[in-house]
């Protein structure tokens, strides 16, 4: 019955999308129902974003077809998709910070007099109406760059509304919103639903999904593993479909005793631009040989915590001890000398100098050891690089090739090699498996295990449940900049971790409005 109330507005049949090296979407059949919230869930790299990019015209299917309103369409660009009434709010905001709110909303669709002169008054008026609908008091003439991230998100949504989108895709719309702002967003969604708009809603916050969704589609490794109406769906069902029953584990073959405490952080605070704290009073301790998993959603402050430990933010507060000694100097180079090393989350931006060769990237942190009185020993450098390439099983044609010619997994191993060359005592790994294929993942995890067995302490940040449960000796969960749970291997369960990671965001169930 509900199925009839919500007609299918768009469907994908046999959708497959192949990227060089990976299949992002495999033979997917997806129905998008109008006047309802179609929730899409899956782990990072499961293919959610790929599917939405296909619908929004950003990417084209390798094979398979898309139907809008029963007719097959070929969406070659976002404009093409917009003509079919499809609007998307990307996770990374696509706004111009140096332009006003009104200008942003009407970009490329400016209201003009005689086709040339922009009618600012009209745009301002329309913007004000949109803001009223979204219950936000944002001045149309304010610069987008001056707005808070949450407000920017609202502007993005307003932009899609202004195009009269019939299908609206929201990719993690609440990741930057406060609880009150989330409430408003949900009211707007209700209203849009009543107008018959079909909404696709992507989020990692399962509670939120259950509250707002009418239909749910679960993706795993590019395959749709579950699709049904939201009735009767609970978190364990979602988790089961996200991860699969036979959870492939990363066997902990090397059992070894832990050493003494090798790393300790006390009361770490990192202020953010909106007056709060991105990292809010975090303390943790790590033993030699231990792998400590830090689980949390995007924006929970995990990345910022490890970067603070590394000395990236001079304005952060808190003390760090490595091997009993306090880290006094805030410089990254001194932290490296003390025995810390980081594998950054964003390999491209923070991990590698793409233009330089593999060799030059690998030795960048340890040139001091490879030189005497400012003179580089090139022969020794070459040999050391060769040793690490062999040890980490990096597949390269020549260490002189630019690092950009490597696949993601091999690039990651180069970053790991760079960190290991500094002879660290503690390794901070931020999403070490991000953007690399399954084989390379297993390799990276094997290396992690082996390093821990050799007595290295590893702090490993991830938003992948399977990984954190399979690899960690101990798990800390972060949410909203705080530690919200600590588990041992025995006490950690998927549900417990997810619950802890939602503390401070939890959309309460009592408010759930029944629309059907």
């Amino acid at each position: 019955m509900e199925q009839e109330k919500h007609p299918i507005g768009l469907k994908i049949r046999g959708g497959t999308k192949v990227y060089p090296g990976t299949v992002a979407l495999k033979n997917a059949d997806f129905d998008l129902r109008m006047g309802a919230v179609n929730v899409l869930v899956g782990e990072n790299g499961a293919g959610k974003s790929t599917m939405m990019k296909v619908i929004a015209g950003v990417e084209q299917l390798t094979s398979g077809s898309i139907f809008v309103g029963g007719k097959e369409v070929i969406l070659t660009s976002t404009e093409e998709a917009a003509r079919h009434g499809i609007g998307i709010v990307f996770q990374e905001l696509n706004l111009f910070p140096n332009m006003t709110v009104a200008d942003n909303i009407f970009i490329n669709r400016e209201r003009t007099r005689y086709g040339v002169d922009i009618d600012r008054a009209k745009q301002r008026e329309a913007t004000r109406k949109l803001m009223k609908r979204l219950e936000h008091d944002i001045d149309p003439d304010a610069l987008v760059g001056d707005l808070k991230v949450g407000q920017q998100q609202i502007v993005e949504i307003a932009k899609s509304l202004a195009q009269n989108a019939r299908i609206l895709i929201l990719d993690e719309p609440t990741s930057a919103l406060s609880a009150a702002e989330v409430e408003i967003l949900f009211r707007v969604i209700e209203e849009l639903k009543r107008d018959g708009v079909g909404i696709v809603y992507i989020s990692h916050r399962l509670e939120e999904l259950i509250r707002v969704g009418d239909y749910i589609t679960v993706l795993r490794d590019g395959v749709i593993t579950g699709a049904r109406s939201m009735e009767g769906v609970d978190i364990p069902w979602i988790v089961l479909n996200m991860i699969g029953d036979a959870s492939k584990d990363f066997p902990k073959t090397l059992d070894h005793p832990f050493g003494d405490e090798i790393f300790r952080a006390e009361d770490v605070y990192l202020p953010n631009s909106s007056g709060g704290f991105t990292v809010n009073g975090v303390s943790m301790s790590l033993k030699a040989g231990e792998i400590l998993g830090v689980y949390g959603l995007m924006g929970a402050g995990r990345t910022e915590f490890v970067e603070t430990a590394m000395g990236r933010y001079p304005h952060a507060r808190g003390t760090f001890y490595v091997d009993g000694k306090e880290a006094k100097s805030p410089h990254v180079s001194d932290r490296i000398k003390m025995g810390l090393a980081i594998i950054p989350e964003d390999r491209k931006q923070d991990g590698l100098v793409q233009i330089l060769s593999i060799r030059e990237n690998m030795t960048l942190s340890s040139l001091g050891d490879l030189s005497t009185a400012g003179h580089l020993d090139l022969a020794k450098e070459k040999k050391t690089v060769g040793d690490y390439v062999k040890q980490l099983l990096i597949k390269i044609a020549s260490p002189e090739n630019p690092v950009s010619s490597l696949s993601g997994g091999n690039q990651q191993k180069v970053v790991i090699g760079k960190a290991l060359m500094t002879k660290p005592k503690v390794l901070l790994m931020d999403e070490p498996s991000r953007g690399i294929d399954i084989g390379a993942k297993a390799e990276v995890f094997r290396v992690m295990r082996q390093l821990a067995a050799e007595g290295l302490g590893i702090i490993f940040v991830t938003s992948d449940l399977e990984e954190v449960l399979g690899l960690s000796d101990r798990i800390v969960v972060m949410s909203n900049g705080k530690i919200t749970g600590e588990f041992t291997q025995e006490t950690a369960t998927e549900t417990a971790l997810i619950t802890a990671s939602a503390v401070g965001h939890a959309a309460s169930h009592e408010h759930k409005e029944t629309v059907s």
Binding site: E307, M310, R312, H331, V332, S333, R335, I336, I342, P344, Q349, D350, G351, L352, V353, Q354, I355, L356, E360, T363, L364, S365, L367, G368, L370, S371, G374, H375, L376, L378, K395, I396, A397, S398, N401, P402, S404, S405, L406, S407, K418, T422
Partner: protein, 352 residues
């Protein structure tokens, strides 16, 4: 078997093409020299070659400093003005010494004068670096500012007049000042010897020291370099101070060659230096470039303009030709990047 040959043939072609593209500045130099040898009769005479080298050396000094700055991801527009100001400082010191009041003045010998002038050049470079690292001014703007300030200061130092007759005074030991521009050792002009020393030093820094590697890393990806423990600000201080040092050397050499210093000296020299660096394969985006390439690039520009003069080509046409050569250089550089990326990807694909 067939599959193997078909896969190796294109990569072999690409590799050969790549070698040609990489050596393009050198090939251009050979072509230019060959052309003028045929077209201008006196071109290959020793006297002409020495004069030409002296011209080229001035630009080459600045271009070496500029190359480091550009590799680190910045730009130094102030070098031309540093040349002018340092020339004025040198001229002032040779003529007047430093007035300490009460009718006393301190006089310096040639070495001391050179050291003071070099210190001034390095100091202006340090100001550039301070503006860029501590005050977060974009390099283009910061050095544009110092360009005007230094030029204005040079004008003020003499009210726009020339310091003439810098013959020095044997009593103070500054009579050897002229030797820098006019002297030679075993027939090789002093300025050329200095260029060789600075060139070798810069090449050594770029290829065999951690500092050199850091310069490339900062220009390639400042964030990644920072997280790898590179002291980014220190690297930037070095490159701008080195550029200032090169500017000071040129200021000394010119005022010694002319036996006079004029405050407008060095106007638009920075543009020639950038041109030489770009011609030599330095990427304006940072992270890529070679000192050797830059020196060859400086020679291409220098040989081209001197050769055209000898052929009697109008200076207006010279300017046009110089511009076309620079544009062509960058276009070919883009082609090289594409071929290089393809060769690397093919090699990577071959091992799976």
């Amino acid at each position: 078997m067939t599959a193997m040959t078909s896969s190796t043939v294109p990569s072999g072609n690409s590799s050969a093409l790549l070698v040609l593209l990489k050596a393009r500045t050198f090939i251009a130099l050979i072509l230019v020299v060959a052309f003028f040898s045929a077209a201008a009769p006196n071109f290959l005479s020793t006297a002409n070659l020495v004069i030409m080298s002296k011209h080229v050396a001035l630009n080459a000094f600045l271009a070496i400093g500029m190359t480091f700055v550009i590799i680190s991801g910045g730009i130094d527009l102030s070098v031309g003005s540093i040349v002018g100001l340092c020339g004025m400082v040198a001229g002032y010191l040779v003529l007047n010494g430093i007035d300490v009041g009460l009718g006393w003045s301190v006089q310096f010998n040639t070495l001391e004068i050179c050291l003071i002038v070099i210190a001034v050049g390095i100091f202006i470079g340090a100001i550039n670096a301070f503006l860029i690292t501590k005050l977060n001014v974009a390099p283009f703007i910061a050095t544009l500012g110092t360009l005007y300030v230094a030029r204005g200061t040079a004008m003020l130092s003499s009210d726009g007049r020339t310091f003439p007759n810098l013959n020095g005074n044997a009593e103070y030991g500054s009579d050897t000042f002229r030797w820098i521009g006019a002297g030679d050792i075993f027939g090789i002009p002093a300025s050329i010897l200095m260029l060789i020393v600075v060139g070798v030093l810069a090449t050594y820094i770029a290829s065999r020291t951690p500092l050199g590697r850091f310069i490339y890393a900062v220009g390639g990806n400042e964030r990644a370099a920072g997280l790898s423990g590179v002291k980014v600000n220190r690297v930037k201080y070095f490159v701008y101070m080195f550029s200032g040092f090169c500017g000071a050397l040129v200021g000394i050499i010119i005022s010694s060659q002319l036996v006079a210093s004029h405050p407008a000296t060095g106007d638009t020299f920075e543009l020639n230096a950038i041109a030489a660096a770009v011609l030599g394969g330095t990427s304006m985006a940072g992270g890529r470039g070679k000192i050797g390439g830059t020196i060859v690039g400086a020679f291409v520009i220098g040989v081209l303009s001197d050769g055209l003069v000898m052929m009697g080509v109008s200076s207006f046409w010279q300017t046009v030709i110089k511009g076309l050569v620079i544009i062509a250089a960058v276009v070919i550089d883009q082609a090289q990047q594409r071929v290089q990326a393809r060769v690397a990807l093919q090699a990577q694909a071959a091992i799976g």
